[in-house]
């Protein structure tokens, strides 16, 4: 079994679901991942992404659906028979074993001969650059080092699938950036699938080949980081991808590729991407794209923070809507500004009334 899993081509989830009592934590998850891909499951906390990961790992029984590696159904196997490497959020290192024994545990369980196991452990230790720490106990290591041990322990068994459950969330900002690159480098060296759970869209975008955005136990969009960044399919995906401004308005004019909407007497133009169900719509704009302009939405500045390359502020716009904007100069609290965005940067979605 294990040998056939090693030379697989793809992982497929079909209508995967999981209930906790009456709660549908995971509703209907269907997607497939090709060998060599790095896929991120992205979503706010409670969206079911960790549940999905645990179901795939075999740590949580599924309620519905099936999981396949090529033609082999694996959701009926226990975690110990799947042979997937998993990196846990709190690392889950065995506290009573040295770094070397932790990393070698999986090989020992598989009955890999000592000499070969020794070589593979050394290689894994070199991959995560921990050569000087092999005899220490996990408790003697820093958070970043523990993280590396956890990764080495998961990859040394050469799994077809490496699962990572928010592995960087316990590290400080600088270490997180370093480890991101490490994880990407290790993934490229392995040639297997990495499935990475996170709630941080920056992390997902910089690491993944494809991102699966989840919310309320469902997939909302699957796409490349560019797709998601530029063309979020729905308003909540847009909001999660950083379109913090949601401005309600009514359509007044539609041309071939633009749509004009009226917001409390001011007209803003946005991309036209699909048909609209009604005239009530919501325009979504990133704070970076909403800037002071000669004409646009009139607003009163409430906060203006220094962000190094620019200023970031919030203001009260027409009808009391909160607007987040950026500015090249410092604005004082209470200043009146007019804010506008390039129409190609404004996304328009059906509004609540539709």
């Amino acid at each position: 079994m294990a040998a056939s899993l090693k030379s697989f081509k793809s992982l497929r989830l079909e209508h995967l679901g999981r209930d906790f009592g009456t709660l549908n934590a995971l509703k209907d998850l269907t997607f497939s991942i090709e060998r060599g891909e790095f896929v991120a499951l992205l979503g706010p906390s409670g969206c079911g992404k960790s549940t999905a990961l645990n179901c795939i790992a075999g740590l949580l029984p599924t309620t519905r659906g099936s999981i396949w590696l090529d033609q082999t159904r694996i959701d009926t196997l226990g975690a110990e028979d799947r042979g997937f490497g998993m990196v846990f959020q709190n690392y889950a290192l065995f506290p009573h074993m040295s770094v070397r024994d932790n990393i070698g545990f999986g090989l020992r369980m598989q009955g890999v001969p000592k000499i070969e196991a020794g070589k593979r452990i050394d290689a894994a230790i070199a991959t995560v650059r921990l050569q000087s720490q092999i005899d220490k106990l996990p408790g003697q290591l820093s958070g970043g080092q523990q993280q590396r041990v956890a990764i080495a322990r998961a990859i040394v068994i050469e799994p077809p699938l490496v699962l990572m459950d928010e592995p960087l969330s316990n590290l400080d900002a600088k270490l997180r950036l370093e480890m991101r690159q490490e994880i990407r480098r290790i993934h490229s060296g392995l040639g297997s699938i990495t499935l990475y759970v996170t709630h941080d869209q920056d992390e997902a975008m910089s690491l993944a080949d494809r991102i699966v955005v989840m919310r309320d136990g469902e997939v909302r969009q699957i796409g490349t980081p560019e797709d998601l960044y530029l063309r979020p399919a729905t308003l909540d995906v847009a909001e999660f991808m950083g379109f913090r401004n949601r401005i309600a308005g009514r359509i007044i004019d539609v041309t071939a590729d633009t749509v004009s909407i009226d917001v409390g007497g001011t007209t803003i133009k946005g991309q036209r991407r699909a048909k609209f169900n009604g005239r009530d719509v919501v325009a979504a704009i990133r704070p970076d794209d909403l800037v002071a302009a000669p004409s646009g939405l009139a607003a009163i500045v409430e906060v203006c923070e220094y962000r190094g390359h620019s200023f970031f502020g919030s203001a009260r716009g027409p009808g009391g809507v909160e607007l987040f904007f950026s500015s090249s100069e410092r604005l004082a609290n209470g200043d009146a500004v007019t804010l506008a965005a390039d129409p190609s940067r404004v996304l328009v979605y059906d509004g609540a009334g539709a």
Binding site: A57, G58, L59, G78, A79, E80, D81, R82, G83, F84, G85, M86, F88, N90, Y91, A92, L93, F94, P95, H96, F105, G106, M109, Q110, L137, P138, G139, G143, Q146, A150, R153, A154, I157, L163, N170
Partner: protein, 297 residues
């Protein structure tokens, strides 16, 4: 500025730097209580044991170790206390593993705490009826034809053994359960993803992390069982196979009015306990004793 004439820090600050401040005074009542209720009686008993009736220094100890009726009690007590403690541990581990996954743990723990709160005397009285020759147990056995004569389950070694299991098991179980729930369940999951089956997870992950707790549980359970008295008298054969060391001390003190000899017996008892406990704890020191969690929380 004023560094040339910095006065030495006040006495209070120097004491505080050594860890002594007003809060330290809160230890005082407890310390006094321990001195009054433990340290003084112990030292007095030790002194008393070296002043026997015949006036020699080691007379009591010579007497104890030359009379088989007296020194034999050590062996008899160990023969009860050690198997009982080990059996309780062996029973507690698998049951705790099962109970750990149960939802209604509270009901079960309540049932298990009952024998502790009832006390050994009530348990002994109950057993005398239940396991006696005319008790339900023997009637059931004979009605079912499993035996033609009543099984002799009380007034012997078996009776005391059973009662020590009944009163000692809940205590052992609750301790083992709390040590077991202290092990982060994610460690077992991690071991599973690395290919470890149930038996291997127990052997390589849970057991090594549990051993220190089992050591402490063994010591506490053993100390309890070693000082058995009421059930050895009520359910055992206090003149024969269950003449435990506490009975010898009781007889010396309250039948022969030889407090000095009784103190010496108590000292021997303490020494035996000390040897076993130190041995158990040094075995425990061979194992990992840090926190049983898998990393930063």
């Amino acid at each position: 500025m004023n560094d040339a004439h910095t006065p030495p820090p006040a006495l209070g600050m120097r004491l505080a730097a050594m860890g002594l401040d007003a809060v330290t005074l809160l230890v005082l009542p407890a310390a006094l209580l321990i001195v009054a209720l433990f340290v003084y009686p112990f030292l007095y008993g030790l002194w008393l044991s070296f002043h026997p009736k015949d006036g020699s220094t080691f007379g009591n100890y010579v007497k104890f170790f030359s009379d088989p009726f007296l020194y034999g009690t050590i062996g008899k007590t160990l023969w009860l206390a050690l198997p009982v403690t080990v059996l309780n541990l062996l029973l507690a581990i698998p049951i705790a593993f099962r109970v750990r996954r149960m939802r209604n743990q509270r009901i079960l723990t309540t049932i298990l705490v009952l024998p502790i709160t009832l006390g050994t005397v009530l348990v002994a009285e109950g057993m005398l009826n239940y396991f006696g020759p005319q008790g339900w147990f023997n009637r059931a056995v004979m009605t079912l034809g499993l035996s033609s004569t009543p099984l002799k389950l009380v007034h012997n070694y078996t009776g005391v053994f059973i009662s020590l299991v009944i009163t000692g098991f809940p205590f052992t179980f609750l301790l083992v359960l709390s040590y077991l729930t202290g092990i982060d369940p994610v460690l077992e999951q991690a071991a599973a993803t690395l290919g470890a089956k149930t038996a291997a997870r127990f052997r390589h992950i849970l057991l090594p992390l549990l051993v220190p707790g089992l050591g402490v549980t063994f010591c506490l359970g053993f100390v309890q069982a070693f000082s058995v008295f009421p059930s050895a008298v009520l359910l055992g054969a206090p003149a024969g196979p269950t003449r435990v060391i506490s009975i010898a001390a009781y007889e010396a003190a309250f039948e022969h009015y030889d407090y000095s000899l009784a103190s010496a017996i108590a000292m021997v008892m303490a020494l035996v306990l000390l040897v076993i406990v130190v041995a158990a704890l040094s075995v425990r020191n061979l194992f990992y004793r840090g926190p049983a969690s898998g990393g930063k929380g």
